[in-house]
Symmetry: none
Subunit: 224 residues, 4 copies
């Protein structure tokens, strides 16, 4: 028997079920976004139902990404919330949390990387702008806390965050070798395979933050 989600609480639950189905399918094959039909089937819903909750397939993944982003930023914020007054400890915790989160959810960077391109190509400009804006808004909120916790000039936290994430995203894309690529291949075939994403990211962040905190991380010649 079909359940109708009339209460907004039930609707939220159903929305999440769709998101969950989409994610679980993506996990099985991270090469491409699963089809809308597959997501519906996995969620135990009819195809049309999915479109009651999302206006397009890409919006599902945009929502997924937003959800993950929020979790990520919340994790980062926690690094600075504890032990106020010990900036250097905060930075250490930040690096730990940053790396741990991403290393434990590799699909996040994978999805984000795929999203670049796919979302832009298939969302309307307005939808894409909304997506980016909501990301930027969350980021700004978090970076304001960074500014405060580390007693930085306004805006410096944002740059630190941006660059840290750039490092993560970039390293991931270079070092990521999905299972299906690795099959039947000799290790010596991949000069870069020896590099472990988590290890590299941690090291890179440590280096970057060392350099950044050595002097104000301002952009040397920032545009007006």
């Amino acid at each position: 028997m079909v359940k109708h989600a009339h209460a907004s609480e039930d609707k939220e639950k159903r929305r999440n079920a769709i998101l969950g189905a989409a994610l679980s399918l993506f996990l099985k094959d991270t090469r491409r976004l699963p089809s809308a039909a597959a997501i519906a089937a996995k969620a135990g819903l009819a195809k049309g139902t999915v479109y009651l909750y999302f206006t397009s397939k890409e919006q599902i993944f945009a929502a997924l990404l937003s959800r993950e982003w929020d979790a990520f930023l919340a994790t980062l914020r926690r690094s600075f919330a504890e032990e106020p007054g010990h900036p250097s400890r905060a930075v250490d915790r930040f690096v730990d949390n940053f790396v741990d989160f991403l290393a434990s959810r590799t699909y996040f960077l994978r999805l984000d990387s795929l999203g670049y391109g796919l979302l832009e190509a298939n969302l309307s400009p307005a939808e894409f702008r909304d997506f980016k804006r909501s990301f930027a808004t969350s980021l700004n909120r978090t970076s304001a806390e960074v500014d405060k916790a580390l007693a930085l000039e306004a805006g410096d936290g944002l740059r630190l965050l941006l660059r840290s994430y750039a490092l993560a995203r970039g390293l991931f894309q270079t070092l990521d070798f999905p299972a299906h690529i690795l099959n039947d291949s000799q290790p010596e075939d991949h000069p870069l395979t020896g590099f472990d994403f988590e290890t590299e990211l941690r090291a890179a962040l440590v280096e970057y933050w060392r350099g950044a905190l050595a002097s104000p991380p301002r952009s040397p010649r920032r545009r007006k």
Copy 2:
């Protein structure tokens, strides 16, 4: 009248024509890879002919990317070739060359970013491995020169390069707002629009290298 390319010289020319057509089409709309039909038309060839020179559409873009990568790495190598014995000057030149190259060919990062995902999804695993390997080989060659020029331990140059490029790729993807997205929107809509890729990249690289050279850039707990 149909032209037959018998001499291998002509074949090379035709191959380049296809590459050129692909790039010029991509430049016109960087949202997606141009279609095989469009590339053929632009190159003045029949659709089938394109497949005599490339085994798939994605191979065209893989070749394009390799070509650009070689040019990029050659540029970087030049930074270290001049004035042997002045490491710090070399680093400055490196940053300049690095940033200038990418800023003057934004389509390169765009293509590289799109390629992640698209190439992997549509190239066979073996083809994809080859693509990655050729990239890694070039990179290794260049990083060996970095090691020598900066008197680093073997492998450190590779890490510096990898992380520098990660920074570039990651920043680009976060800060890139193609023209069609910006249209009809207020500047204040984009909290990140104020950030200029070139400026940010230069600043980030300076910070990173400062931190990296402050102490050996080794991975702290490198996997065996």
Copy 3:
């Protein structure tokens, strides 16, 4: 708050609200029948409620058409009711009323023309037969009055009416160029645009009736 229509008077009112909503929506875009969802929304009702009053979307338009048909036939009947004993005056009035009605409600012919096909495709055979029958019944009633007023043999009035309406419907379909088709086009592009439906219809009716009344309008070889 939800309004319940218990009294049958209220029900009639609600039914009419749906009809009105359907018509007003159709007027806005005569290319297609409005969707059930749109009709419900316009009528201020839930989608399901519409189906309490009509068994299908097409039934709404069948009802609308019947309503209009009745109005049309009533108008025609008036032509013959006045001034009994002056058949030729009656014919003139008939043509006037006929043309004026249709010219002032072009959506009627539009709807009727669209209905052909759409109703047949989507109504059940039984429903479609009912629809046609009710139309035929009204028509017969009217044509009996025509027979009497013009002192025709039984059945001749029906033929006159049928053919007059055929002329109207056929001319409309040939001469109708909706606004959205005309946009951005040069007048000389449409060799038929110079023809005005109202003018042509009047002239055609005059000709037809002249010929028809010149001798009995019987079908020469009527089927048994």
Copy 4:
């Protein structure tokens, strides 16, 4: 083994095969236009191949209609070509040819009637204009011959043709009861079933032309 139609003669043949498949499918169920997939299958072609010859499903039917229109008009022209100098004989032949053609190809009027609405709804405005224009052009050519043959004032032939066709189209739509509608029903259920399209059309045309030729068929108050 797959045949490739390289010669333009073969291409024309293939185009006609698609048209033929579309028509034969339509004949089987005249309630709706057959799907593009069904047409392709019937023509023994892949779905994509159909789109090499027509830009959309509706264009197939537009082409079909144009083809039939041309045949129809050619038939009508023949009525006036023979026996120059005997206008009244020409009119008789015209009525005969007109009725015979339509009665022997009832799908034509059916398709034309369905087309009204379907083509307009699904063709782009520009495509629809082209379709209408080509129809008008053919019509004008034919009516010029009518003018000459019947020694009419320029433009009168066009009106005669237009009105004759209006009569046919309108009568058809009113009298047409497809097989699936008639099943399981009593004859007395359909007060209009007694009317035979062919008979009625002939009678109506005779009446109309009698009236029209009794005096110039000009529109009484033609718009400038």
